[in-house]
């Protein structure tokens, strides 16, 4: 139950739908002309740095979870690309690449939790299948999967039949990567193995993996966000006594600056004043900015915390991603 959301939703539903009528009344060319005279540089949202490496993994993994949705299989002209064949790679992790007629990867997804984890932060969509499988081999090597187990590969066409020629060529390409990586074992997957992977994938219902991973990373992101929230409150409390909207005289006591700089460095804020001439009005502006950010951050945290009880994990994931991007990420 989110009071804000409920009220806003009811306000929107009560309002008439006049968008088209209004849009047609206005001279849009005139508006553009009026506003091109002086183009203000847009004040961009401050880039905020990563707090902890875990946040990287958290959000990137969340992105990885929605790879089938986010990384579109649409062609540039907007139409859906046809899957010509699918490459299944199994070494536990299990992953699948769906490939188009032009041998470019259209879609990628994990067939089990380890597969999802392996693919996180990676985007092979649009890459040539040989390049993509080579990169995957490299990643498997880095994670130590090639040392013990054989990598099994299967290529099926659109009708579910083994696409022998393509399978042989992909295996040959992957073998050349294996040679560079220093060895390992690669073999075609037999039908029984393929059926087992398919069955496990369908039975396990990957959405359950997604849900558990989303929940896990929600906690990580929330922890970071709450930490920032607490730091914002502390800093605002510290600065409040020095804040004066009309304060023009330089402040005598600037002992608080060390904490301000520490915060600014941690979260990549830019505060505009000269060291030896900090005025009450400068502090007032800083407090205002921090309070605005605190308000946004608190709202974002509340939305995610309340979203815990809802079933729409996609929406929850979007909210987590948005919070991390707007309050915890760096633009770099």
């Amino acid at each position: 139950m989110n009071v804000n959301k409920k009220i806003k939703s009811e306000m929107r539903e009560s309002a008439p739908d006049l968008a088209d009528k209004i849009a047609q009344t206005v001279d849009w060319e005139q508006i553009a002309l009026q506003n091109t005279a002086e183009k203000k540089t847009a004040k961009s949202k401050k880039p905020l740095i990563w707090c902890i490496a875990a946040a990287c993994c958290a959000v990137a993994l969340c992105v990885g979870l929605l790879l089938p949705s986010f990384f579109s299989s649409n062609s540039p002209d907007g139409g859906e690309k046809k899957v010509a064949y699918a490459v299944t790679i199994e070494v536990n992790p299990s992953i699948r690449l769906e490939v188009g007629e032009d041998d470019a990867v259209i879609r990628q997804y994990g067939l089990n939790e380890d597969g999802v984890l392996l693919l996180h932060k990676e985007n092979y969509v649009g890459q040539n299948v040989d390049d993509a499988t080579g990169a995957i081999m490299q990643k498997l090597g880095e994670r130590g999967f090639l040392a013990t187990d054989s990598v099994k590969v299967c290529v099926k066409d659109g009708d579910g039949k083994t696409y022998k020629d393509k399978q042989n060529s992909i295996i040959a390409s992957m073998e050349s990567y294996l040679a560079v990586l220093g060895g390992g074992n690669l073999e075609p997957m037999d039908e029984e193995e393929f059926e087992r992977i398919e069955k496990e994938f369908k039975d396990k219902n990957l959405s359950e993996y997604e849900k558990s991973l989303i929940t896990r990373y929600q906690e990580t992101v929330l922890e970071l966000a709450r930490q920032k929230e607490n730091e914002l409150v502390s800093l605002i409390t510290l600065l409040n006594p020095y804040s004066d909207k009309d304060g023009k005289k330089p402040l005598e006591d600037t002992s608080f600056l060390a904490e301000v700089y520490e915060f600014a460095e941690k979260y990549d804020y830019e505060f505009d004043f000269e060291d030896d001439e900090v005025r009450g009005k400068d502090i007032y502006k800083i407090v205002k900015e921090l309070a605005d950010d605190l308000e946004d951050l608190t709202e974002a945290i509340e939305e995610i915390e309340k979203g815990k009880d809802e079933d729409d994990y996609k929406d929850l994931l979007k909210d987590i991603f948005k919070l991390a991007e707007e309050h915890l990420f760096s633009d770099d």
Binding site: M1, V3, N4, K6, I7, K8, S9, E10, M11, R12, E13, S14, A15, P16, L18, A19, D20, K21, I22, A23, T25, V26, W28, E29, I31, A32, L33, Q34, N35, T36, A37, K40, A42, K43, K45, I236, T237, N240, V287, K288, A291, D292, L294, E295, D296, E299, A300, K322, E326
Partner: protein, 179 residues
């Protein structure tokens, strides 16, 4: 979050991108309609004022500071237009008498269907409801509200959270009663 999106849309609208207007309207119509319906109870008149407000806003886009609070500016514009319309049609009636004696004639907003807002108006103290209106409905930042009400930001922040907690308690009552 929503404010950032509105700011981005304002930048696009300033380039004359008509196709961005629908999203802008969807994000802002709730607040604007509420502001208008506090003064006007006739739907046709309210819709006319709604349209006029947006047109006036778009025509004065070059004056809108997208880094400020564009929604607040739009709401102010709409409120003034609603007030002008109200005064145009004002007649000596009980409403005016009540207001003359310091009461509030803004009893209900029949054009807005929100049981929770109605209940909050009844049960919250006037300043609590005003704070809720300004922040939740009209989208003012707490720092702006602090300035408007000449209160410290920390006080407004604390009061805001208390008001939201009270509203959450009223939530069940508002929707159970409806059933």
């Amino acid at each position: 979050m929503q404010t950032d999106r509105i700011r981005k849309l304002i930048r696009e609208l300033k380039k004359g991108k008509k196709e961005k207007f629908t999203e802008f309207y969807e994000l802002t119509k709730g607040a604007v309609w509420y502001v208008i319906s506090r003064k006007l109870f006739d739907r046709h008149k309210a819709e006319d004022v709604m349209q006029e407000s947006y047109v006036a806003f778009l025509k004065s886009l070059h004056k809108v500071d997208e880094d400020g609070n564009p929604l607040a500016y739009l709401c102010t514009l709409a409120r003034n237009k609603a007030l002008d319309e109200y005064k145009k049609n004002a007649r000596e009636d009980l409403t005016d008498v009540i207001e003359d004696y310091g009461g509030s004639a803004e009893m209900d907003t029949p054009l807005v269907n929100s049981p929770l807002v109605t209940l909050c108006k009844q049960k919250l103290k006037p300043w609590e409801f005003e704070l809720m209106e300004l922040t939740v409905i009209m989208g003012y930042k707490q720092t702006e509200v602090a300035e408007m009400l000449s209160k410290p930001i920390s006080t407004v922040n604390r009061q805001y959270h208390e008001v939201i907690k009270k509203a959450e308690k009223l939530y069940k009552e508002a929707y159970d009663e409806r059933k």
